[in-house]
């Protein structure tokens, strides 16, 4: 299959050989997008972030659909969105409908995800959909973009879909071989990039990136700066397959304890811990792996981007 052109700024930046940074925004149970847009503005101000992911009901929770916030971030802030779409809540008919709607709204990137099961979310009694799985959704997107038809071959009229799409991979996966083989299936279905789940262990991350090299697809390694001890603890305990290093947890707890009542001091201490951990981490990834960049999931923690990314 001929390589798909880079339609999005994200893919263009990757093609240019630049070390790319993407951010993440999480619309929750909200009617007011000002916080999301503020976050996007903060990211844009740094001048280092090419695009921001907009999540689609993470952890199976019922949040605002990612389509509209993705559009608003592009329209109001001028920062490109990576529109996350899970196959958990929509069947192939609804996915098709959403994708062409997104194309009309000018969205350029889709990140395909299976989506955390509803059993993990806040509507546990709900029925998850999973009509097609994420690999099949990749095939569907390839057909829509490259052939200009729906999944069954019916023509889409009025223009071409100019989008790039990627999938996720999990560096914490154990056993790893089935995970790598699964990514291979998605590569066959024409993905343009990979963004990974968060990594904390540098050696494991390097090893994982090495395993992905065979596919010759740009990989953005996921990192998750820890805004507070509470979030770190939650992440450690509740996010599948992710464990936060014990030292980091301890340091965050201590920083919060030492600066009780002093908000500024606490923020400074937490930022310092994160920068001390992630700055050398990113440097090492850039220096010694073929990763195309970093996907920095600093949700509601945009203030870290400036100091963390000053060298990029």
């Amino acid at each position: 299959m001929a390589k798909r052109p880079a339609f999005s700024n994200l893919c263009k930046a990757i093609e240019s050989g630049k070390f790319v940074i993407t951010g993440e925004l999480e619309p929750k149970k909200i009617l007011d997008l000002s916080e999301i847009l503020h976050g996007a503005e903060e990211m844009k101000k740094t001048g280092k972030i090419v695009a921001a992911n907009v999540t689609d009901g993470p952890q199976g929770d019922a949040y605002m659909s990612s389509l509209v916030p993705s559009y608003m971030v592009q329209e109001k802030v001028g920062l490109e969105a990576v529109w996350q779409v899970t196959v958990r809540d929509r069947n192939r008919v609804a996915l098709f409908g959403d994708v062409i709607a997104g194309a009309v709204l000018g969205l350029k990137n889709i990140l395909v995800l299976t989506g955390d099961h509803t059993a993990l979310g806040d509507h546990k009694r709900g029925r998850p959909v999973y009509d097609i799985d994420s690999t099949q959704f990749c095939e569907m997107l390839s057909i829509m973009i490259d052939k200009g038809t729906d999944y069954e071959g019916n023509e889409i009229v009025g223009g071409k879909i100019e989008m790039n799409f990627g999938c996720v991979a999990n560096p914490n996966s154990n056993p790893r071989e089935p995970e790598i083989l699964k990514v291979g299936r998605k590569v066959e279905q024409g993905i343009d990039f990979i963004q990974t789940q968060t990594a904390f262990d540098i050696d494991e991350a390097k090893d994982f990136l090495k395993d992905l090299e065979q596919f010759n697809v740009p990989v953005l390694l996921g990192i998750f700066p820890l805004k507070s001890y509470g979030i770190a603890w939650y992440f450690d305990n509740y996010i599948p397959g992710v464990s936060v290093p014990k030292d980091l947890l301890k340091a965050l707890k201590k920083a919060e304890k030492d600066n009780k009542g002093d908000k500024k001091g606490k923020y400074a201490a937490l930022d310092k811990i994160n920068i001390e951990f992630f700055e050398p981490f990113i440097k090492e990834i850039k220096k010694s792996t073929k990763a195309a960049g970093i996907h920095c999931m600093a949700v509601e923690y945009e203030r870290l981007f400036g100091p963390l990314l000053k060298d990029y």
């Binding site: 059993a119 993990l120 099949q136 996966s173 089935p178 995970e179 699964k182 299936r185 279905q189 599948p240």
Partner: protein, 232 residues
């Protein structure tokens, strides 16, 4: 076998509340855990106690049926009692409840169970497990005899997903093995990872559209043969 779970006693009582004389029918078929005469008796005693707390006298009789999903067996076993009772409460799976309502159409039959899935019990294990969901489009020839549709919480055709941790599934608190890791292990053992790597396209759901319907006998007519003869 059909794996069932008894409904909450209050829910069952609400169903039979309008009646004073009920027949409680166990099923000796494939319903698991066993829902036979003894279980029917225990349920009758519980309901009688419950009725007594509300100042009502409930009359009941417990029987058992060889297989409630078989119309002839269900009819011949239950018909002698039907006239003496106002309603039937059955311990069979959903198939039994529907069949009893169909063949005994002068009396209403109510379920005491929630049917859960078609499953098996491996000897020595204290749980039932769903191995097949009768999807109408079998792919286990490609997945080492392990079904990812029945075995995977997300019914993935191309797994595993990101919810797998140390070979276990995020659904159920990491107590159930990830079907896709089990498939990978099995295919690796037989040096058939080519099957694991294979991409499987979107599933055709026409085979499993409800209600399921399948003629058992194909009627033979010689009309087509006649037509062909006429042509010649």
């Amino acid at each position: 076998m059909i794996i069932t779970e008894q409904k909450d006693i209050n829910e069952i009582y609400e169903l039979i509340k309008p009646y004073n004389k009920i027949l409680i029918a166990g099923c000796d078929g494939c319903c698991q855990p066993p829902r036979s005469l003894n279980e029917a008796k225990v349920l009758g005693q519980l309901l009688e106690l419950k009725a007594r707390t509300e100042g009502k006298k409930l009359q009941w009789k417990a029987i058992t049926v060889l297989r409630q999903c078989d119309d002839r067996i269900a009819a011949t076993t239950c018909r002698p009692y039907v006239e003496d009772y106002e309603a039937i409460l059955t311990l069979a799976c959903g198939l039994g409840v529907v069949m009893m309502n169909k063949v005994l159409d002068n009396i209403m039959t109510f379920p005491a169970q929630n049917s859960q899935f078609g499953g098996v019990q491996n000897s020595g294990e204290n749980f039932y497990i769903e191995y097949c969901e009768a999807c109408g489009d079998c792919i286990i020839g490609e997945t080492g005899g392990i079904c990812p549709r029945a075995g995977c919480a997300k019914h993935l055709s191309n797994g595993p997903c990101g919810g797998m941790v140390d070979g276990m599934c995020e659904v159920g608190g990491y107590t159930i093995p990830c079907a896709w890791v089990e498939i990978w292990k099995r295919l690796k053992k037989f040096n058939r990872l080519d099957l694991f790597k294979k991409y499987r396209g979107p599933r055709d759901f026409r085979g499993s559209t409800s209600p399921g319907y399948k003629p058992i006998y194909k009627e033979y007519t010689n009309e087509e043969e006649k037509k062909e003869e006429e042509k010649e």
